[in-house]
Amino acid sequence: MNLSRRWLEALVGRSLDAGEVAALLTARCCPVEGVERLHADLDGVLVGRVLEVRRHPNADRLSLCLVDAGGAGGGGPLEVVCGAPNVTAGKTYPFAPVGTVLPDGTKLERRKIRGVESNGMLCSARELGLGQDADGILEIDTSAAPGTRLLEALPIADERIALEVYANRPDLLGHKGVARELAAALGATVKLPAFPGTDRPSALPPIRRSDRAGVVDGVEVRLEDPEGAPRYLIAVVRGVRVGPSPAWLADRLTAVGQRPINNIVDATNYILFELNQPMHAFDLARLRGPAIVVRRAKAGERMVTLDGVTRTLTPEMTAICDAERPTIVAGVMGSAESEVTATTTDLVLECAYFQPTRIRRTRRALALTSESSYRYERGVDIQALPDALRRALDLIQSVAGGSVREGPIDLWPSPEQPRAVFLRPDRVTRLLGVEFKRHDLERLLSSVGFVVAPKDERLGVQVPGWRPDVAREVDLIEEVARLSSYDAFPDELRPYRPGTVPDAVSEQVLTRLRAALAQAGLLECRSTPLGPADAPDAVPLRNPLSTEESHLRSRLIPQLVARVEYNWSVRERDVRLFEVGTVFHAADGGRPDEHLSVAGILTGARRPLHWTEAAKVPDMDIWDLKQHFELAASVAAPGARVVPGDSADVWRATAPDGRVVGRAGRLEADAPKWAGAVLGFEVEIDVRSERRLTFTPLPEQPAMVQDLSLVLPGGVTAEQVEAVLRREARPLLERVQVLDEYRGPNVPAGTRGVTWRCVFRDAARTLRDREVDDVIRRSLAALEGELGVRRRTG
């Protein structure tokens, strides 16, 4: 909502500082997003009085003026060439001296025009951005001395204050509502200023209340949809003269960013921005009947709205119709056909309250938002409609003439009384934490229009019609808090009781997982969970923004591959990333399954280059992958085993129940020539896993270490060999570790040599060589018998 500082001043009857207004509104109501000084580009323009007008010696249509600019440009009167037909000696005009930058960006130079030097320029309204008039220079009526800054001489200096109005404060969508808040803060009162020419008491015939139907000055009005339009007022004005608005009205609208159109449209817009009450004026001559019927639209009914678009209506919408067809989508936009034009003489003026949710659904269905729909949707003051209509009629008569021959009609089949809410002072104190006395509450609430009366221990508070948001006690407590200023409340910590909610286990697991992978040298990445379908059971969005982001991810790995490709594009070859996050799968019966997952991706050098290693550092390979996969699986899915996979996955992680919970392998990517292999893994996170740490006593007896070089026939795995070793050498074998693998001519074809380091220990006493030899002999026998594995000789 754009506010004009000058407009607010007219309502509170005192001068205001825009910065102070912004601070007050932010502290008490809604935040001000910015303050813009209007006409700041006219700073250099002065008041100039033309002393003498002569013919230009070399041009018929130019004149040579002697301008008194109060000494600007060095001393006495200045010679200025002027092309305007209306320049007259003795009159006053805006004068731009040499060096001024005009609103269109041109900088005035001293230059010769047809051989005569011109020391500045007398300006038209258009050149100053003060209107469309470019036919002549702008004559100004001012008592200010020549040389005065134009902004001080004319009532146009203003600031535009941009207020971010919350959805619950429709009253702040009009200057009057904002003025009410300012007046409460500043101790002023709000009074609507009279319009020029209407300072005498209005001769408006009284407004007549009726139920659902009536006749105004020959126009039949029928309210058939009181649900959509609970209150509906119509006035008829005859004999208006449609034309441009007077300057004061055009200025008001321009100041809030509205383009003036004609005096009728401008008058209704003025009421909208002053009182937050949309008004709709339409041409009586175009009205068939003449009748106005407020009804639900019929399915498929069509009309062309003001913006030239054909709209198809539905029975969910309220339509304002004449005897035959819709002329207005109620509360949203009128038809091009019934619009007020230059030839309009008789007007129908609508002032209504439309059901907010009906308006919201209508404007969403039509994808058509207007200043009116924006306000109806938030709720206008249903009690204030007659006042708004009277003020609108005053304004129309002031700017466009015309007369109201018969009292307007006010259809309100189920009148509502202003809402009453009770307030308990002790509840205020309890909720706000600071004691409030009854008279404090009365003073604060009545300052912004609540009517307060004591009622037992409570206060009976009557809510004004412009505050549809205040429906229960707590809403009044918010009023008390904001009107006494949030800054006034203390902020010292007070004792509290510990809560009953335990820390979420999943958060603990994620924290451990992140720490482990970061420690292993991976950088955490956060990519977006929206993308194209990445699996047959990917969950589609019903209303995606684009096809690239049409599904929820079912895996993390594809996005990590994309991140690696991005890094390649910025010439980064060594990339190690991980991500933890939610993945989604379609599930039978509606609600998709969602669970946490962790993934990692590795490519490029195994470690940073160091000068001690003359050769290139080797790239990450599948053994680096296995290391990180096992690390992630051990934290994310405790109890899961890493086992060989098929050709697509080099490894898998299987849960104790046999379910595959993780995969690791080489990945396809759109790689440049210089890139390394891309390796990745992903593990489903078991959020139930509690970390159980156990202590093993440190050994007190020495260990014996033996290296075993074995020959493994094809098809025998290291895992099988270790299983036999562990079984046979139990309980003395403490640890086995692969030291080396050999494939080559020194072992029989089809076999390989693998060396294990075995560590033996007895917890109770020192081992003897013979005991270890026995164990090894037994193990070798078993290995040979079961797997055909023999000790390597030579």
């Binding site: 932010t26 008490r28 109501c29 919350y166 959805a167 619950n168 907010p356 949710t357 919201r360 938030r378 309890r430 909720l431 706000l432 934490g433 600071v434 229960r472 707590v474 407590i477 808090a481 949030y486 409340f489 902020d491 010292e492 007070r494 509290y496 809560g499 009953t500 909610v501 820390d503 979420a504 999943s506 958060e507 992140r514 970061a518 040298g521 991976l522 950088l523 955490e524 956060r526 977006t528 019903r542 209303n543 995606p544 994309a562 890094n567 980064e572 060594d574 190690r576 990333l577 991980f578 939610t582 989604f584 509606g590 609600r591 998709p592 969602e594 470690r607 940073p608 160091h610 001690t612």
Partner: protein, 342 residues
């Protein structure tokens, strides 16, 4: 005595010879000045006991000071020569050490952890909830009226039926209030979705941290105190904090909290849009309707809730110009906050 002092002056003069000395000369100097047998300075110090008390005092102090200075100068030169020798013969200790890859947590994770940890000190535990939510939990139990303009800022992605991607972490308030009895003190970190196209300051997916405290006797003062404490912990102990009215359907009264702009100190700059203040979070007293919707007695219990965007806070704190950097996975960005070799 005067003679002794003159000799001391002479010996001090000779300190100048030390920096030029090579290894041999250094040994000679040490013997000549500090030598146990005939060292010039040793002799002077040895003669002190024979002097009268006044002279002993006048000579003893400077003599011992000079001895320390000689020792220091000789040692320093020896160390210098030793280093130079080792460079030539053995290693150059200025060569870089062996590097290792340094991993690290995403900046957003770090900021979220930092925020949650501050609240943890005040007794807030971490709670979580699903990202796919019902309309009831995401809107209506939170007191959003149907067909109300308050829904405009919550444009949502729908999955199916009345299931949508949560637009805020607030539905976890509902889940927590329904599952636990007061006193409740939780922070709720999580990912949320808005149907907004990506640009420099908007993402369709971002993180939030929600907070909820419900118990008997919790007041607006507790809200202000808790959140001001957070701001002063997170930013700086002398951070100026400001609260002003706001609107959320699920809180009443509602308040936005701003802190004095950390970039310009309040003078006005591009970061704070010339206002001198940075908006950090939204908050308010839990609306009684929310408590009632969850079966909590709203006369007996009161509470406050708050929500903030860690991405936004990280952007303000670290001057990050574009929210898309957080999602880029660019290792040059990520490693800046991992603090190490990449």
């Amino acid at each position: 005595m005067r003679d002794l002092l003159a000799r001391l002056d002479g010996l001090r003069e000779r300190l100048r010879e030390v920096p030029q000395a090579d290894e041999h000369r250094l040994q000679d100097l040490r013997a000549e000045i500090l030598g146990r047998k005939n060292g010039a300075l040793t002799d002077i110090i040895r003669s002190l006991p024979q002097l009268d008390a006044e002279s002993r005092k006048a000579v003893g102090g400077p003599a011992n000071t000079l001895k320390r200075d000689w020792e220091a100068a000789l040692d320093a030169r020896a160390a210098e020569l030793g280093r130079a020798a080792s460079v030539l013969q053995d290693i150059d200790p200025t060569m870089p050490g062996r590097p290792a890859w340094r991993g690290g947590l995403h900046l957003v994770t770090q900021v979220m952890d930092e925020i949650c940890d501050i609240f943890h000190e005040l007794g807030f535990t971490r709670a979580v909830g699903p990202e796919i939510e019902t309309e009831r939990n995401n809107f209506y139990a939170l007191n959003f009226p149907k067909d109300h303009p308050a829904l405009d800022s919550q444009d949502s992605f729908y999955v199916s039926g009345d299931l949508l991607l949560r637009t805020h972490t607030s539905p976890v308030q509902i889940r927590t209030l329904e599952a636990y009895r007061p006193p409740i003190r939780v922070v709720i970190p999580g990912r949320v979705y808005r149907r907004d196209p990506f640009d420099a300051s908007h993402a369709s997916v971002f993180e939030q941290i929600e907070g909820l405290a419900v118990d008997e006797g919790i007041s607006f003062v507790d809200l202000k105190a808790t959140l001001s404490h957070f701001a002063r912990k997170f930013f700086a102990a002398d951070t100026a904090v400001r609260f002003h009215p706001s609107f959320f359907p699920f809180t009443e009264p509602s308040a936005d909290m701003s802190v004095r702009c950390t970039v310009c100190g309040g003078r006005g700059c591009a970061t704070c849009k010339q206002s001198g203040w940075m908006e950090i979070l939204g908050s308010g007293m839990v609306h009684p309707a929310v408590l009632e919707n969850c079966g909590v007695d709203s006369e007996r219990y009161t509470g406050f809730a708050f929500g903030m965007g860690p991405q936004r806070i990280a952007m303000l704190r670290y001057g990050i110009p574009d929210i898309r950097l957080f999602y880029s996975g660019d290792v040059r960005f990520l490693s800046q906050f991992a603090g190490g070799v990449r």
